[in-house]
Subunit: 709 residues, 2 copies
Amino acid sequence: MLRKLTLLAMVCLIPILLTAQELKSPDGNLLMKFELSDEGIPYYNLNYKGKPVIKPSALGLELMDVASMDAGFEIKEVKEQSVDNSWKPVWGKQSIIRNNYNELSVMLVQPALKGRFIRIRFRLFDDGLGFRYEFPKQPELKYFIIKEELTEFFLAGDHKIFWIPGDYDTNEYPYTTSKISELPEKMEEATIQVAAQSPIENLAVQTPSMMKTADGLYINIHEAALENYSAMNLNVDADNYKMSAHLTPDAIGNKGYLQTDTHSPWRTIVVSDKATDILASNLIVNLNEPTSYQDVSWISPVKYIGVWWEYFVHGGSTWAYGTETNVKMDDDFSKLTPNGRHGATTENVKKYVDFAAMHGFDAVLVEGWNIGWEDWFGNWKEDVFDFVTPYPDFDVEELQKYASAKGVRIMMHHETSGSAANYERRLDRAFQFMADHNYNSVKTGYVGKIIPRGEHHDGQRMVNHYIHVARRAADYGIMINSHEAVRPTGLHRTYPNWIAQESARGTEFEAMGGLHPEHTTILPFTRLMGGPMDYTPGIFQTTYNDGEQRINTTLVKQLAYYVTMYSPLQMAADLPENYDRFPDAFQFIKDVAVDWDESHYLEAEPGDYVTIARKAKGENEWYVGGITDENARTANILFSFLPKGKKFVATIYADGKDASWNENPQSYDIRKVVVDSKSKLNQKLAAGGGVAISIVEGTKENMKGLKRL
Amino acid sequence: MLRKLTLLAMVCLIPILLTAQELKSPDGNLLMKFELSDEGIPYYNLNYKGKPVIKPSALGLELMDVASMDAGFEIKEVKEQSVDNSWKPVWGKQSIIRNNYNELSVMLVQPALKGRFIRIRFRLFDDGLGFRYEFPKQPELKYFIIKEELTEFFLAGDHKIFWIPGDYDTNEYPYTTSKISELPEKMEEATIQVAAQSPIENLAVQTPSMMKTADGLYINIHEAALENYSAMNLNVDADNYKMSAHLTPDAIGNKGYLQTDTHSPWRTIVVSDKATDILASNLIVNLNEPTSYQDVSWISPVKYIGVWWEYFVHGGSTWAYGTETNVKMDDDFSKLTPNGRHGATTENVKKYVDFAAMHGFDAVLVEGWNIGWEDWFGNWKEDVFDFVTPYPDFDVEELQKYASAKGVRIMMHHETSGSAANYERRLDRAFQFMADHNYNSVKTGYVGKIIPRGEHHDGQRMVNHYIHVARRAADYGIMINSHEAVRPTGLHRTYPNWIAQESARGTEFEAMGGLHPEHTTILPFTRLMGGPMDYTPGIFQTTYNDGEQRINTTLVKQLAYYVTMYSPLQMAADLPENYDRFPDAFQFIKDVAVDWDESHYLEAEPGDYVTIARKAKGENEWYVGGITDENARTANILFSFLPKGKKFVATIYADGKDASWNENPQSYDIRKVVVDSKSKLNQKLAAGGGVAISIVEGTKENMKGLKRL
């Protein structure tokens, strides 16, 4: 699966003379400088085309009980190398990814501490910088505890920033756009109530942190390959525009337990003067390790529907079976009082299976199938779910037979209620149950405060938990879609069965107050930088309860999400009966690919709009998605991503002329035209609207009667 | 397995009139009084034969976030019943246990809190009191968090007390004997350094707390059926002789997370004017639930040897295979540098298997068989052991074949290094590995600080962990012998495969500074009150390293332990070559039973001496063990426990005339005599010595030439 196409490596040992080192990106646009202060404090800075991106910023770590790695350093050894190769992901936005960087590795020694040493490794790509701390095996350093990481990101000005509050437990905040200097005044309002939140007490924001400078530079700070380490928030010094690492603590306030040989995650700074370059960046996956899985043939993208949205809409069904509000795992759930609205019944699931089979979906997610939902949330309860016992009205065997006969898989659901301890204890049995019943994918959930109590969703322990689950799942041939887990950092390269995550405010919030129309124009620049999101798009029926519940998009924008919100796991989230009402629009969801050979980022501005074209993997089919925020706009789509000299049929799903997210969301217009690589489309997007285009090769038959664009 | 022989139950509903209630023990010796103060605070007191045992002491619980259960109570309902039945343990000190008590159950309501209510259930036996808090299901009480339990034990005087310091993580302290009033001055000295200790900051001692009043009353305070709750220490008000509950906190300081319907463990007060009655008490097991295991045929007492003591003695071998001091689970351990002293080699284990087979032992414990011992302790490391990967010089398959052919089992060893989190994640696979390789018992270990970090050995989380391990083990037909787990509370009745525990300062400390000769005259009154101890007796070679290492007993006292230190799991802990040097004394270890029909407590005084006779289960064989502290004494043994009118041959293993624990420990004398139920033996025990007697039915052959006692 991984093929090294080219490898250019030069390793040179530089004499220990200088305290300053420079590194340039392959294209020369980025310049990174590393130096030690007089006190032996490591500093780095970063320029892009001569403009400062990061001003001189300190590096280091504060340790518990022993001397910190913060000062008194000398440079012992410097190594450089250049790498230019390519690799093929198991699935992804493109089928070949180039990995091209110049590397500087600096060995730093603390002579006063018996020569204790670390390395800082910098990798400078054309689209940004990655660096990490490395802690080699050595007599003076075996086990150590991190009190705090001291990495700084000293920004060059009062940038515009797209941010959510720093928090140890949740990413489900709406975004605020402001100047860095405005953060203090806006933090309180931004910190809305979210289930099981732990906002950081000092001024802090989460990563991926997307910024734009006054002179048009786009800067994105995040991390890559977060393993065996706590997730990083960013402290903000709003007066000086200086950010610094703020790791997630454990139950007793420590921030990481490490054993040499080991290293930190990569700290990443993606930079460009073009917003589309940020979206196109592969820096984060390039900094992750290739997978060690020997066989990946069982891992494949999935398009699914599910017993899910009906739990959110007014008058819908419930996860719980009984009316009782105090149940225990050992109770006999067949003795509960049925509430009459349970969603995951054998009968109801069969309807979904029928629909999936009829429309070519791979799988049907079923939430609420297992005992425990009567009081699953908010009690900090340890043993909520056992992951193997269905409700009395859900027949596992019968449904597996039924689905299997129709070529559909049931998708497992493991809500943990945040009780990772309970899930870990039962994981092998839960996965064995899945294997025994023909399940090959599971949506996991971590709603609620973490157990072991005092731990956080984003701390080292839980970071390791999610990876543990993914690795164990691989042993059983199971794919994972984790919700409420730590924000992704490109680990899907290493664990490709960890196929998607939520880790942001997703479609469910459209049913709980609504998402701002600009929300999904920001997510690709923030949440999606780390990996695919199970955003669960495709909501056609956009109002409920006499307009009390409203989805803040046009219907067409929901279609566009299948392209703009990249994921190898895509849900058609609405109720089957709503798709039945709009079969022509639904056709796009049926057609759209979930795995890609190429991606072309046509236009983008964070907070405003995103237009992307992608080529289906192994197919001569292209899909375009374009979205806008609350403002109507005209998308200028150049079809130059198409092969030259050929004709194609484009089906354009456009907002109706009278469409808007808040007044007339279900107005749309579908037309077919002939296009080629020279075609241009100026497509009007409604306020809160979008455009979706499917493109196939032109044939005599399918072009018959169609006009050229 | 459980047979109710008789059941006399009377339930009577008493009109709600009085605030005071009285309860008498079946024999009338104990009188318990319950009343509410004017503030609605519950109080109880206890008298024995008219003497105060517990003066009026408050009851209640302090809760987090909601109003406490500490005052404002009214009595809503009172129920009484009397029970007299018997049951048969799977294994034990006797084959039938009588369960005879009078019960008072008081429903207490807090009218100011919407009628929130609890129950306090008192059970008064002839040998003491048990009571617990019960939290029934009710609209006003579903989930709650305990800040502290407020139970008091207000003692009537400045009693003599046998104590170890209150601690959340270890019971491995030596005992101090003092007046209650002397506790403050003696606490610092008593709190010696122990691995992974967390001494309580205020003045506190552990349970079982053994006391003796100035007028000769013996009082023992402990708890029974500790499940889903934190272990209790006792705060001590040394001026007023008042003790109160001090529960073990979790990582964030809370002391228990409960969901109704539920209850606390039983608080137990065993009382008598005879010390032997304390040892004979079955109050704690009677307060535990019968086992729910359907099949217990696979559970059986075990006599074993092991690759163990050689790790402790000077010049011995090591658990670790390599010389490296920084290893990870994923390392290739075959590439380590062998230290040349690894104990658990295939070759060495075969010698133990040969010895076990030759002398009729059931099993051979092998510690140090699995990878990870190079840096297993003291680093708060999470993934130390994987429980399934042997060292390169330990051949699991080969040894299983070898042992199986000789009728011997290998006993598994699962040291967790305190990382319960890691063990739980791997438990199913670890047990499956055992099942696949013919293991049916495992010694578990919890040396070190607990992971999840911040949790304690004795907190609710770990209490539940040990039970989880026992229950999962039962699913695989595995018996558990847990070391460094929370002190036992009679749960072996409910989980009879949890066959023994350590949870005290055991024989290993004889190799690490030595145990005081009185230590084992106290343990039966303290640690053993809760359940059997894997004390690992049988050390014949009592000095090492030119006397630097010394076991502080005579050889014969080690024999006596097989009777005085009750356990269904008994080790012959010394090296095979040391047994080969004393085959005549070793005969007692080979002969002695590990399961019993009857136990007779002949003489006892905590801190001074203990003499016990037991009848082997299903055999006409009796074994007597007597021990003394640092003072020589004469044990007065009456053989009235033998059936009348028959003759028996007693083999008496006595200290030599010149024996003593510190000067001449290996001097012993073995003689055979004829005894009957009228025989009396005045047997001299050396300082730090003992006596062991095996008794079989007399026949012409075996009595030939023997004298009557």
